[in-house]
Amino acid sequence: MERTLFLSGNEALAHGAARAGATFACGYPGTPSTEILETIARLEGVHAEWCVNEKVALETAIGASRAGRRTLVTMKHVGLNVAADPLLTLTETGVTAGLVIVSADDPNMNSSQNEQDNRNYAKFAKIPMLEPSDSQEAYDFVAEAFALSEEFDTPVLLRPTTRVSHGRGQIVPGVPVAFEPREYVKDVTKHLMVPQWARLRTRFVIERLQRLRVRAEESPLNVLEAGTADFGIITSGISYVYAREAFPKAWFLKLGMSHPLPYRKVAQLYQHVSRVAVVEELDPFLEEQVRMLGLPVIGKEAIPANGELDQDVVFRALEPFLSRRPPRRRRAVFPPAPRLADLPPAPDLPVRPPVLCAGCKHRSVFTALRRHKVAAMGDIGCYMLGADPPLNALDSSLCMGAGIGIMAGFNKALGRKASVAVIGDSTFFHSGITALISAHYNEADGVVLILDNRTTAMTGHQGTPGSGVRPDLTEGPAIDLQKLCEGIGVRCVTVDATDYGGLKAALKAEIDAPGLSVFVAQAPCALMVRENLGAVIVDDERCNLCGLCLEIGCPAIAPGDDAVSIIDGCTGCGLCVAVCRRGALIPAGETS
């Protein structure tokens, strides 16, 4: 006889993840999800960490997935609100190795402040939702979720509810899945969600949802179970076991994969029975879609829209409907596939993307960084522009504050300082600081480069806690980044971004050093100070067009036939002077 285990749903999720080849797991505790990570932390071969919150946990998980490791991230339903920012862009970037997000929901708020139905997030993010109904399914569905994640290049939501998470049952363990770690490949069109690339990924997301719906039609997780009564029930998750017990003779469409809904399987059920009910806790998530198909259904007029169900509630709710005359109309009308917006015509003129300004003193950081063979996990704001050619200095941009968590997960999964994070001062205050705390707590390797221009530049120079400037231009206290980071306990060096030589050496020291550190490069936004030291002068005799100064991506330097030339916009910041090895570029004040 096979060995069986007696596990809670949460334990089963942990064992199921380990069996499916997951080697990285993280999360933030929250009832009813907590024991998943506690259990997996005791299993061999899986690295587990608590992160500082669910947003950072998901970002850390994204880093581990990028590093090619199957990754599980766990939280309770409200935690997904905190992680919604990365989730809604993660759906665009997809994954490298499988990434499964467990959102443990708590109908009836046994230990929660609300009872939101997180199946709505699957619809919102256009990603698959798996709903186990017992411990065995919790165990089995994780492997299926990882496979789906990789096959469809998507994060997968897995939603147990309290009675699944904290219920217990027998498990027949499966054969371990052999999973070879995948290799990370830099691909800005997939990982750097600036409008140019994100617009293409949005198309991918909509098409992916169509393909996922085809899969839902074929998936062994979605089962049409024959009955003997003229009554069918569409259900998912824990509601299935209640309905099964209440109506043993009914037909069932049991949806293990409840999003996207397999429309044709729903229609099939209606070929066998004349009465159909949807049994689901909380929102009429399935019911609304069934009604959208034009099919008559018993739903929330009978099944309570709040709280938990059980077999008695389900029986008492539906029993009166069974004696009524069945509805007549039973033909489904399937919605057509959505149309995608026309692609803009290929430009016949040179495009003009935004660029780091001429005179942006933080160009020096990208110039120094691109010399190192580390992935650079960027953030939101002006510094995304460091990703553009010819600098090509960034690998990734997801959402505010995400770069640090992604770096931490990436480096932890690979076991070395394979990436750094690049973030502006305003975004660091926004949500980078929590990720830094998490990385420090978990002893992640890395360098967090904070490009400190003392303002929120991209949106038009709003104040930050680092500048102290308020909307009415009064000044409050200004927070010192160096002291803040040191207060956390992280080593921090602050450099002058206008001193390229010093900055380059200091950055190399930090990248080469073990552990985690913060590297603050300070210089004001060029648009705010509008400092102009006079245009740099080119010595045509000395310039041999080696191209070093062109690689810094300054819009005020142009190549010529015999020498580079300085064109409009030069502020004399001197970075090109510093990278030139032949002394061919001369600051305005130093001509003789």
Binding site: L349, P350, V351, R352, P353, P354, V355, L356, C357, C382, L385, D388, P389, P390, M458, T459, G460, L527, L550, G553, P555, I557, A558, P559, I567, D568
Partner: protein, 199 residues
């Protein structure tokens, strides 16, 4: 479309496209017309292409459209780009002496388009070519290229001098109003009326 006139302002982030659009909107409003504008912020100051749309008429519903009756371009390449928005009856007012090559041109990957006159003729578009930099310099600041062009564009827009004055006063900060008024007047005087041109 439907008695609505659309003016598209095109340029490079930092060239004052948004202010120019605000002046036209205030001018149209002063002329007693309904007006709607639309613009994309955020990346606008970082040297990227900027497009701002002003629509005015007796009744305006949508703030956007992908065609224009008049394009005002503060840079030569953007003027070429603006041709794509114009139909045969359209007019292009372009700062032809202003050239800001984008990165792909600086790196030699793409060619900067040259002959706007021929391109406009091929489109059947009336080109009002203006050396706006010279006019702005004459007015007192290179930053007034945008308003100098508006002065030139006044030749093809249906507003009285009084409406323009009210528009300028409403949209331009007081301390730079005088220099912009000079730039506007220089731009207006630089355009030979079409009738005079043909006679």
């Amino acid at each position: 479309m439907n008695g609505v006139t659309t003016v598209s302002l095109m340029g490079v982030g930092g060239q004052g496209i948004l202010l120019a659009a605000a002046i036209i909107a205030q001018t149209a409003s002063a002329a007693g017309l309904r007006v709607k504008t639309s613009e994309v912020h955020g990346m606008a100051q970082r040297g990227g292409s900027v497009l701002s749309t002003v629509r005015f008429g007796k009744e305006v519903w949508s703030p956007v459209t992908h065609s224009a009756d008049v394009v005002i371009a503060t840079e030569l390449l953007e003027g070429h780009r603006g041709l794509g928005l114009l139909g045969p009856e359209g007019a292009l007012v372009c700062a032809v002496s202003t050239r800001i090559p984008p990165g792909s041109v600086l790196r030699g990957e793409q060619a900067y388009p040259e002959d706007l006159q021929a391109a406009a003729a091929a489109h059947g578009v009336r080109l009002i070519a203006v050396d706006a930099e010279a006019l702005a310099r004459e007015a007192g600041t290179l930053r007034a290229v945008n308003v100098a062009l508006l002065g030139a564009a006044s030749a093809v827009l249906p507003f009285t001098a009084e409406s323009w004055q009210r528009g300028l006063t409403a949209a331009v900060p007081a301390k730079i109003l005088a220099v912009n008024e000079r730039a506007f007047a220089l731009g207006r005087d630089a355009v030979v009326p079409e009738d005079a041109q043909t006679s």
